[in-house]
Symmetry: C2
Subunit: 241 residues, 2 copies
Amino acid sequence: MSDGTLTHTQRALLELRQKILNGSIPGGTRLYEVALAEDLQISRTPVRAALSQLAEEALLERGKGGGFVVRSFALADVVDTIDLRGVLEGTAARYAAERGVSAEGLAGAEKALLEIDRLLQRETVDMDAYSALNTQFHAVLADLSGSITLKREIERITALPFASPSAFLEDHNRLDALARTLGAAQAQHRAIIEAIAGRESGRAEALAREHARAARRNVEFLLSQETVLREGLSSLALLTG
Amino acid sequence: MSDGTLTHTQRALLELRQKILNGSIPGGTRLYEVALAEDLQISRTPVRAALSQLAEEALLERGKGGGFVVRSFALADVVDTIDLRGVLEGTAARYAAERGVSAEGLAGAEKALLEIDRLLQRETVDMDAYSALNTQFHAVLADLSGSITLKREIERITALPFASPSAFLEDHNRLDALARTLGAAQAQHRAIIEAIAGRESGRAEALAREHARAARRNVEFLLSQETVLREGLSSLALLTG
DNA sequence: TCCGCCGTAAATGTATACATCACGTGCAAA
DNA sequence: TTTGCACGTGATGTATACATTTACGGCGGA
């Protein structure tokens, strides 16, 4: 199993997660073990295992008398969740500033910033690479907080596709606007780290909150476009309503 | 099953949760399905089901190659988690103030406050009843936020025994100090609702944060006592270190 | 001595048969 | 017509046998 093979549970987990995230299985749908087992050509046992893991990821919720239901996310939930990420990352930044960070921690953050800089200097930005670096920077920020509980909750929120710090980036169709967005985001990144290094806790918290707010504006802009243009928004495929 | 009977899964869930919370199974312990199944006199299937639910509750974490490990909570984690509850409840209070609450919502909060008042007027306070009402008030507050995501995260954090709004109340040994604590808490409750009703979002957020801070002080006080006096702290039984 | 291979044991992964529960449906009686 | 019960269907709950994986230790050879 250390080779390319996956366990049936893992395969079921991947397939079901994919189907939920891309909207193939809409919110509110009740998932039946037998049907899924037949569909995936496996027995009920690994299906159950996969379902319970998806419940841990907050993509499913347990129904009344057993069973699982796909969670519904309305537009308001998306906005609230992004704001919640801002609150949590703001708290992480504040903790980092208040409690102080190690030289290595700060160096890790600076390194991430420099790598993003290097990427943004290019003519055309490799969005996959940017997403990875951006996600990494946010992970470092959560680490700098020094709070395991907080880091875990940030990871949890961030696992939702529309609340990820790198959500919606590939959905941009106007490249000039995207370039400006990325440049502004990077400026905020740098300011947050600067505030942390300078022990300016209030500024660090406010900046991190505002940084998430930019992501929120991005969503609201994308959703304000014509219906046709919204079709391909991969991060929002699981929305209901 | 709607009668007094529980499924084996439910029984296993209750017993395991209890053992983790009271420290019978210390943090870091790996749980083996076969051993637990023999211990509980059931098969592995319901044991697995119970374990995955405990993982959802954040009491267990999944090990590397499958399997579950009891989560370890250090003192610093407890304090951080209580503060995080303050941050989240503060956000809930701020949202409620910013967005406004319905008349019914406000009435529900006032009703909870009055019931707590009535309880506190008595000579000796029924702590179980107080805990229930206090928990209910905090649930109402989370509701007033109008954010499903936020409410869910508050519920999640609050499910940890040491981060519950009613944690440590029964652990108090000095009754006069306890009475003062409860009175002060109720004053904060009232101020929070007053701020929400008056749309004072900044005040509402700060008050809710400070309200959790009082819980944090309470923990720190209890833990500063002699070792002998700390033995019975039921909410802290699962601490490691 | 050290490295690597193989075998064994103990763990999780999986399939399947059966038990039990929940809910709807239809019939019968008031 | 309405109410309530009985029953069937389809779902989850449970036990168990077997498969597969992994970790570890001993043994052999370099």
